[in-house]
């Protein structure tokens, strides 16, 4: 069976990816899977029943449908923010690592500066000024998370630079831009991919935290926003665990899956083997 073989090759990546894909599919197809319209007001504070699998929230919306729909927002924000961070980080890392010199110093100085700034307080501060807006949140998170990606990509580029391929490409007259695009970038992809996965997890967590604090976009409910309402509109006090347990569980499962994939990328073979295989 082909699936069994894929599993054996790297069980971590297999399990993680499967979980993620299932959740993404559920979120994508939520309009068809959800039994109710998540925005429709019905009777409030209902307990789980056959009609409402997870009951209703403080304004009478069906929680299960809400859960599915919110998946799109949470996953979407995580993905877009990670994309922004990865793109920025990759560009900075590749240019700094390849060109070196003053450009490298300046870029790394900027990177280190942003790297040290605590992310959540900054996002909170700016969101408080800008007001709740999904696009802003995505861009903001992305623009704050690129430094760690830049650092990792740069180290990778530094080692790639030494490879003979670069020398020969230059000898054939290839320009910097061509080398960076056609040789450096493809070889930095595995690292970039692993970091992207981690960044998406981090971005989702930040979005969830920012929303929980009340800065989320009420027009686009995410899992974090559901938790915000559950906590601040009396769901927690009323011990409505069916309201606040599922969204958090969903976030935890997605982040868990992403981390599994990342671990799968990272797992090296037994380091003692090098003693044997090299002599």
């Amino acid at each position: 069976m082909k699936l069994a073989k894929l599993f054996r090759r790297n069980p971590l990546i297999f399990c993680g990816s499967t979980l993620i894909i299932l959740i993404i599919l559920a979120a994508l197809f939520s309009p068809w899977l959800a039994p109710h319209d998540p925005w429709q007001y019905q009777q409030a504070f209902l307990e789980p029943s056959r009609e409402h699998w997870l009951g209703t929230n403080d304004v009478g919306q069906d929680i299960f449908s809400e859960l599915l729909a919110a998946g799109r927002v949470s996953l979407g924000v995580g993905f877009v923010a990670a994309l922004v961070a990865a793109a920025t980080g990759a560009v900075v890392g590749i240019v700094a690592g390849f060109r070196r010199g003053v450009l490298d110093e300046v870029l790394m100085g900027a990177t280190d500066t942003v790297l040290v700034i605590p992310v959540l307080p900054l996002v909170v501060l700016i969101s408080a000024y800008l007001g709740p807006n999904l696009i802003n949140v995505c861009l903001l998170i992305g623009l704050v998370m690129w430094p760690s990606i830049a650092r990792i990509i740069r180290s990778r580029v530094l080692s790639l630079r030494q490879s003979g391929y670069v020398e020969s490409a230059r000898a054939l007259g290839a320009g910097d831009r061509w080398i960076m695009l056609h040789h450096i970038l493809p070889n930095a992809m595995p690292v970039l991919l692993a970091k992207f996965v981690l960044t998406m997890a981090g971005a989702m967590l930040i979005e969830a935290s920012v929303s929980f604090l009340g800065l989320g976009d009420p027009g686009a409910k995410s899992w974090g926003m559901m938790l915000y309402y559950a906590f601040s509109r009396g769901g927690f006090i009323r011990e409505m665990w069916w309201w606040y347990l599922p969204p958090g569980l969903a976030i935890a499962l997605v982040i868990f899956a992403l981390n599994l994939v990342n671990l799968g990328f990272e797992e090296k073979s037994d380091p003692r083997l090098k003693r044997v295989l090299e002599g």
Binding site: V116, P118, L122, A128, Y129, L245, P271
Partner: protein
């Protein structure tokens, strides 16, 4: 061959860079309210002050010097930051400095023990999991800690609060003190209130430390000096916890420093759930009231703490690795 990079010089350079970052943050805090849409005065003093001031708005504008040239305002602002004149919070009816300082203490009471406890726990489990890599011990430990690490801090906090306070009633439902107690009784009261929030923070951080230490120790196991120690008949436990772990400490310290910002953020979220009177509650309430000065300086002071942690970690790292002394 002696290569002397004076450790004092390195520390000085690092401190210089951090001070630069701090200056950047202060400047950022200065510019942001003036850049954002809306009346800069609103952005500077917050909604409550703005809408509550009524006719005195123009006087406020003059008082705060908003009619003066920008450069002048900047240097006044800088001066204010360093002398402790951080403005007034209408939410707490106190100067911002007092409000922030008061809340910061409570946050540190949670964060500092959490760092130490989590490092101890994570180092132990991480080493164990690395030694027994890919066995059931490793899968169980790493798997469950990975799951704990994946949970949003505040959600974990809600669950713990629900189970241990609501259902079982073992611990209080929130806050840091029950009020009206003195001396030792007050101290133990705070301890009692601290258990759950500290537990949540420690668990989250320990999970991360576990992953880091596990990864370090796995590579260390391949090192020659581990083999040499084993060849001398040193027991597995000693090899792991003395020879192995010692070399994993330096990376752990570095990572802890880098992650200090995330730890603080996590603490902020947990405090909200437990109504713990730290920076978390401050930020939560300031957001609701749009008290911008509070938010700005909360950001500032958290950054100061993170930078201080980074500096300490740099020093500790140099001390831990004899090759750098």
């Amino acid at each position: 061959m002696e290569k002397h990079v004076h450790p004092q010089a390195v520390v000085a350079v690092k401190t210089g860079r951090y001070l630069l970052v701090l200056l950047l943050i202060i400047t950022f805090n200065f510019i942001i309210p003036r850049l954002m849409p809306g009346d800069p005065l609103l952005n500077i003093i917050g909604e409550e002050a703005y809408y509550g001031a009524g006719g005195a708005l123009e006087n406020l504008r003059e008082d705060l010097g908003l009619d003066r040239p920008l450069i002048r305002q900047y240097f006044d602002y800088l001066g204010g930051v360093f002398t402790g004149d951080w403005g007034y919070s209408y939410l707490y009816m106190q100067p911002v400095l007092a409000a922030v300082a008061g809340h910061l203490g409570w946050s540190l009471i949670l964060i500092l023990p959490a760092i130490v406890l989590a490092a101890l726990a994570g180092a132990f489990t991480g080493s164990l999991a690395a030694w027994r890599r890919k066995t059931r011990t490793d899968t169980f430990l790493t798997g469950s800690l990975l799951l704990a690490y994946s949970m949003p801090h505040y959600w974990l906090a809600m669950i713990m609060l629900f189970i241990f306070a609501f259902l079982l009633g073992w611990f209080p439902l929130g806050r840091a003190v029950s009020g009206g107690l003195e001396g030792f009784a007050c101290f133990s009261d705070v301890m009692w209130h601290m258990v759950l929030p500290l537990g949540v923070l420690t668990l989250s951080k320990a999970a991360y430390d576990h992953l880091i230490v596990r990864s370090s120790v796995v590579s260390i196991i391949g090192e020659d000096y581990i083999l040499t120690a084993q060849s001398r008949g040193v027991s597995a436990a000693v090899v792991l916890f003395k020879h192995g772990l010692r070399n994993a400490l330096a990376p752990l310290v570095t990572v802890t420093a880098i992650q200090f910002g995330m730890l603080f953020s996590g603490a902020v979220m947990v405090e909200v759930v437990f109504s713990w009177p730290g920076m978390g509650t401050l930020i939560y309430e300031a957001i609701a009231a749009r008290d911008y000065p509070l938010l700005q300086y909360a950001f500032f002071i958290i950054t100061v703490c993170v930078l201080a942690a980074n500096l300490l970690a740099d020093l500790a790292y140099r001390w831990l690795d004899p090759r750098l002394r």
